[in-house]
């Protein structure tokens, strides 16, 4: 029986529940191992006047202190190569490493830190998007997507809406903070265990900054205790620091950030400030739209240009925009470099237009669902995105019809109106939003993967790919794919630790596409192994059956690998055990290892002519209802219904977990996760005591998760990526809050920032109750 499509447990689940699963900091220390930490800039922007390490070097238990002078190179970066690992004369964000400290124990590290004599001159920082715009502090290059003549369309429109959508950042809050251990090897070589989504990038940056060849560095990733994009680029820094110590001291070196340091020093989801001008008809159809997106990239580019590209290509979300202009500018500020975070700009783009839908409804005094439906991408017409991609196999109209019926939208909307008309103490809100999320890296060349499949003499199989496991179940899916491709039981397949030694030049496990790409490569390897084993099997079967040679068997004859056996489907009674065929192949000197490769077909795109950046789209609709306390602003999600098109699910249990997890994580971003800073840019919410990710009590009281049956022929097994898209479905919660506020806003369009915290909600209610003028956003 095939295992694809079955609810197979996560391949590490047993280890997780017993505590046996090992993470970087669980690896037993080796003799002489050093602890590594770093001194970071306490200012967002400062000049280093002087730095004296003499006293710190002499402190008891200190093995070494290192600065940028100890690096071969100091400059790196995934896109722009503009990032400095260790500050030289100027610190450009609070949390930037200046001195790497290696010591025998934590106490010695503390003493060394205190003994470092550093004189810093504080410089004026840029801490917000507004300040960056005022100072024209931008990263190259501003981008634009344009179709038709939106300005003219807006000028002609019956209604015009203008506004600004603003969102705060979000901390990844992976439970396992950044961590790495570096082991020195022979002749300068290094082996590094890193909690990273991107072992190849860690390998490349270590080699570059330490003056080694990539072939001298092996990076291994067994698993991560969560990542969510936060370990796509920013796992590199700790890994390089540990490697530097290993290189300089010849001793193993371990670095594990505390949760506080991690939150202070690493980048987050990008804050955005999105301005919009929308022209629309009296039935709510958008006729022209201009979006101007600004993101806070932080001090270095990191992945910000790519995040902006995704924000721009997701500003349409589920809605057709005939005449549209989308401009995007990344601001350079003195915040830690903001980085990938599940959704990768998509949520900020999509939330902007969902906000617009809510506002159009407010202006027209219509149900927002009608407005959304009036603008939804269609099947035969109104089906091309602003960047020119034809929407194929579009299920949005279906999702927009099925979900309202399933969740009783119309009746509940009446209920909400009735409730709000009578309740003196609470208000309710209801909103149904959509997601259309493009799958593929926007950067074409990243859409490739390789996989190594080795069959051993006993018929067991090891698979190695560049995919990294962070809980999302990619290894489980690959295991299922390989088991079915080779027709063996899933227990016979082992997905190995991710290692740059087995798989070279891999892309980050990101963009939700790790199972697509690496699964595709593993399937490719298996197909070729099967091809080589087929004649071997055919030979034995024909000899055993005493049948005529293979060439003369009837047409229907085909060698099948299934359930641990190999047989000819023309004569299924005669079965060989998989391991028998393996053994025979070995003796015939047939290679039983294979490297597979996958490059996503069809995708092609550039900024000037547009094109087809995404292989396909994952889609969904979501409906949420909230209840707000009029006096305190406290909000409770009463019910959420999610309906998705995720293709054919390889593993329903894993996919369902991705949906519930992403939704709740998105809800956190939109509601309780409040990154507050001081005026000088110091993060005040830097641990779970002050930074509130959703708790088990925040799960919607009623939570229905489902998907429609729908094949996706362009992807492995007809499946669709599911890691990121459901995060955007949490926008329904935020829109429901906005909807609730429309009952107390005296006919004005209610404004709301992200996150809609208790405080944000109460201050809005208060403002309306006092009849005060609108805040700007």
């Amino acid at each position: 029986m095939p295992v694809l499509g079955r609810n197979v447990p996560h391949d590490s689940a047993r280890g997780h529940v017993t505590g046996e699963s090992l993470y970087v900091d669980d690896i037993a220390p080796v003799a002489g191992e050093l602890l590594v930490d770093f001194l970071w800039s306490p200012f967002a922007h400062a000049r280093i006047r002087s730095l004296d390490l003499t006293k710190a070097r002499a402190a008891d238990g200190v093995a070494g202190l290192f600065t940028f002078r100890d690096l071969h190179h100091n400059l790196f970066g995934p896109i722009l190569k503009d990032e400095i690992l260790l500050a030289e004369d100027v610190c450009t964000f609070r949390g930037q490493p200046i001195v790497v400290i290696a010591a025998e124990n934590a106490r010695a590290i503390r003493e060394a830190k205190n003994a470092i004599a550093i004189d810093l001159e504080e410089l004026a920082p840029i801490l917000t998007i507004d300040a960056a715009i005022a100072a024209s502090s931008f990263f190259p290059d501003p981008r634009m997507i344009r179709r038709g003549d939106p300005a003219a369309a807006i000028a002609r429109a019956e209604h015009v809406l203008e506004g600004v959508f603003e969102n705060q950042g979000q901390d990844h809050f992976y439970l396992e903070s950044q961590a790495a251990i570096a082991y020195p090897g022979e002749l300068g070589a290094l082996t590094v265990h890193s909690s990273t989504q991107n072992p190849t990038e860690v390998q490349e940056v270590i080699a570059h900054l330490l003056g080694l060849t990539m072939s001298q560095v092996v990076v291994l990733t067994k698993r991560m205790g969560g990542a969510f994009g936060g370990k796509e680029c920013q796992a590199t820094h700790p890994a390089v620091m540990a490697s530097l110590v290993a290189q300089k001291t010849g001793r193993a070196a371990r670095i594990v950030y505390s949760k506080d340091d991690d939150m202070h020093a690493t980048g987050k989801r990008h804050p955005f400030q999105n301005r919009y001008r929308i022209g629309f008809t009296r039935s709510g159809e958008i006729t022209g739209a201009i979006f101007e997106l600004y993101s806070d990239g932080g001090a270095y580019a990191d992945l910000s240009p790519a995040v902006m590209a995704r924000a721009m290509t997701h500003s349409d979300n589920a809605y057709f925009l005939s005449d549209v202009e989308i401009r995007g500018t990344v601001c350079r500020t003195n915040m830690p470099p903001n980085t990938a975070f599940r959704g990768f700009g998509g949520p900020q783009g999509a939330c902007t237009i969902e906000n617009v839908m809510q506002e159009i409804a407010s202006v027209l005094k219509r149900d927002a669902l009608e407005v959304r439906r009036a603008n939804c991408y269609q099947i035969a017409t109104r089906n091309v995105t602003p960047y020119g991609q034809l929407l194929e196999r579009n299920t949005l109209p279906r999702l927009f019809t099925e979900l309202p019926a399933r969740c009783d939208y119309a009746k509940r909307m009446d209920g909400v109106r009735e409730f709000n008309a009578t309740s003196k103490t609470h208000i309710r809100g209801l909103a149904l939003t959509a997601v259309k999320f493009g799958i593929s890296f926007n950067t074409k060349f990243l859409n490739q993967a390789n996989a190594l499949v080795n069959i051993y003499l006993d018929g067991s199989v090891q698979v190695s790919t560049g995919a990294t496991e962070m809980g999302q179940g990619v290894n489980t899916k690959i295991r299922q794919l390989v088991a079915d491709e080779l027709g063996i039981l899933i227990d016979r397949v082992h997905v190995m630790i991710t290692s740059t030694e087995k798989n070279n030049n891999t892309s980050a496990t990101a963009a939700s596409s790790a199972a697509d790409l690496n699964g595709g490569a593993a399937v490719d390897a298996c197909a070729r192994l099967r091809e080589r084993m087929t004649p071997v099997a055919r030979n034995i079967l024909s000899v055993a059956a005493g049948a005529p040679p293979a060439a003369e068997t009837p047409q229907k004859s085909e060698i099948v690998f299934a359930d641990g056996f190999v047989f000819d489907q023309a004569n299924p009674a005669k079965k060989l055990k998989f391991e028998e065929v393996v053994s025979a192949a070995y003796k015939l000197r047939v290679s039983l290892g294979e490297r597979g490769f996958y490059a996503t077909p069809r995708i092609d795109w550039n900024w000037t002519t547009g094109g087809h950046p995404f292989l396909y789209f994952t889609m969904g609709t979501a409906c949420s209802e909230v209840r707000i306390d009029r006096f305190t602003g406290e909000m409770k999600v009463l019910r959420s219904d999610l309906l998705m098109d995720i293709g054919r699910s390889i593993n329903p249990g894993v996919d369902r977990g991705q949906i519930t997890g992403a939704f709740i994580q998105g809800m956190g971003w939109l509601t309780t996760e409040d990154l507050r800073y001081t005026e000088s840019g110091e993060l005040l919410a830097h641990s779970p005591t002050t930074y509130k990710i959703p708790n088990i009590n925040d799960v919607p009281e009623i939570f229905n998760v489902d998907w429609i049956e729908h094949d996706n022929p362009v992807n492995v097994y007809g499946s669709k990526a599911v890691g990121e898209p459901p995060l955007l479905m949490a926008i329904s919660v935020w829109c429901a809050v906005k909807h609730a506020l429309s009952f107390v806003s005296n006919g004005d369009i209610p404004k709301l920032r992200v996150p809609a915290t208790t405080e944000e909600i109460l201050m809005r209610i208060t403002q309306y109750a006092r009849g005060e003028a609108q805040l700007t956003s």
Binding site: P9, H10, Y23, G661, T689, T690, K692, V699
Partner: protein
């Protein structure tokens, strides 16, 4: 006098002495024992990844309760049986573990051992578990991957989870633990068997720190490198651990945990039990004490507004004997107490609402559970003939100490239950408080809450 800490870990006895007793329990199991299932994430009690069970003697049984091992000093484990995820099963998976595997309750797995331990703890007390009970039992555990829904499902599927005492028979462990001398002295750590010794020690060691649940002190230790010249534990002193209703008042000993307090409140002051349900987490309430909450003197301590309006009295014991201080005069300013060098809070006497008195308590926080309050309020109202006959109001989070609101109280005195009156009272309340802006909310937000809470109160009373 014993010169070492003595406890059991997963069925094996442990002796620790010297400076090592000040290490945290989580680091002890991870670094000394190399049992790395217990995870360290926040080291401040706020994520639950480090959850272990602490078994303490109750009569001739051992009761196992979940706590955050990251903020437990090793000396707090003295004479207990600590069970970590490694010790939960001798072979195979327990039903809790099996359900978590089947329901995809683990993704990245980093939170999982903590959830397993907290979930197991639920089944130490009951046989099956509803969604609401799962949420309550797992409030102290954060998961960033699953969205919790699969975990709740898993909890609801569990049947026949064997209890810890089935794996580790109680009698031999208890016999061994109770054979140890109860008083301990290790360097500057003292755990006396009598109150008199505790008081002398405190008098002789001016900067001595009492450590009870360490849900405050443990956080200072980890986050501010807090070290005290000497440490005093009250856990071997008899008579401080009981809570009971006497003459219409709850009398809680100086060592009563928040969990014990919650249990008593559930019967005698349900309104307070509802606030305690949102106080930290089960792990925090199992370790933390009521006296600790009072002595820590935070203006946002959740028990204080209640204690204020109930006119609670603190019994302080020192060299000179016992004195009683009303809670309202215990705080002299931000974190300064009417507590002499040698004094210890030995009892808290809390009158419960009398017939005709209405108690209303409010806690507003960024997140409904496992969050420190942005604002708290307590009201005790007596109505007579449709009018407010007497009222006491206390707010937290609006100044350096919890405040009574005399002007608002005076205004409401004798008034009828009328929205306009309560709106007027809200306006006065707003004038009476001086909140600051911090990470939990702006001053303006708190002012507005101070005003609005009276409107909320009105609707609660009118209902």
């Amino acid at each position: 006098m014993r010169d070492h800490i003595f406890f059991y870990l997963n069925g094996a006895s442990q002796k620790v002495t010297g400076p090592a007793i000040f290490e945290t329990l989580s680091r002890y199991v991870r670094e000394q024992k190399r049992e790395t299932g217990t995870k360290i994430v926040c080291e401040e009690g706020d994520c639950g990844a480090c959850t272990v069970l602490i078994g303490k003697q109750e009569g001739n049984t051992i009761r196992y309760l979940p706590v955050n091992s990251c903020i437990q000093y090793i000396f707090q484990a003295d004479l207990t049986h600590v069970v970590t995820v490694e010790g939960l099963s001798k072979d195979g998976l327990t039903p809790v573990q099996d359900a978590m595997v089947r329901c995809h309750g683990a993704q990245c797995g980093y939170c999982t051992p903590g959830f397993i331990m907290a979930m197991h703890a639920v089944f130490e007390e009951k046989k099956t578990c509803s969604a609401a009970e799962a949420q309550r039992g797992l409030t102290g555990n954060l998961c960033r991957c699953t969205g919790y829904e699969p975990i709740i499902k898993a909890a609801m599927e569990v049947r026949d989870e064997p209890r810890i005492d089935a794996l580790y028979p109680t009698a031999p462990i208890l016999r061994d633990l109770s054979s140890a001398e109860s008083a301990v002295r290790i360097g500057n750590f003292f755990k006396p068997a009598t109150l008199a010794e505790a008081i002398s020690f405190k008098a002789e060691n001016p900067k001595c720190t009492i450590v009870q649940g360490a849900t405050d002190v443990g956080v200072w230790r980890n986050k501010r490198a807090f070290e005290s010249p000497s440490y005093l534990s009250l856990s071997a002193i008899d008579g401080l651990g009981e809570i009971a209703l006497r003459d219409g008042a709850l009398e809680a000993g100086g060592r009563v945990t928040l969990a014990q307090f919650e249990e008593a409140a559930a019967t005698h002051v349900p309104e307070m039990a509802a606030i305690l349900d949102r106080f930290g987490s089960p792990q925090i309430r199992n370790a933390g004490t009521l006296a600790g909450n009072i002595a820590n003197a935070s203006p946002i301590a959740d028990t204080l507004p209640f204690l204020y309006v109930m006119n609670a009295e603190l019994e302080l014991t020192g060299r000179a004997g016992v004195r009683s201080v009303p809670i309202g005069s215990f705080y002299r300013g931000y974190k300064t107490l009417d507590l002499a060098q040698d004094e210890i809070i030995t009892k808290i006497r809390i009158p419960t609402p009398r017939l005709g008195e209405i108690l209303k308590l409010y806690k507003v926080s960024k997140r409904s559970h496992l969050d420190i309050s942005s604002f708290t309020a307590a009201f005790l109202i007596r109505m007579a003939g449709g009018r407010i006959d007497a009222v006491r109001i206390a707010f937290g989070g609006v100044g350096p100490v919890v405040l009574r609101l005399p002007k608002t109280e005076a205004f409401l005195q004798g008034k009828s239950l009328d929205l306009a009156i309560f709106e007027g009272a809200g306006a006065i309340a707003r004038e009476e408080i001086k909140p600051i802006s911090d990470v939990r909310g702006s001053a303006e937000f708190r002012l507005q809450l101070g005003e609005n809470i009276l409107r909320k109160l009105y609707y609660a009373l009118a209902a």
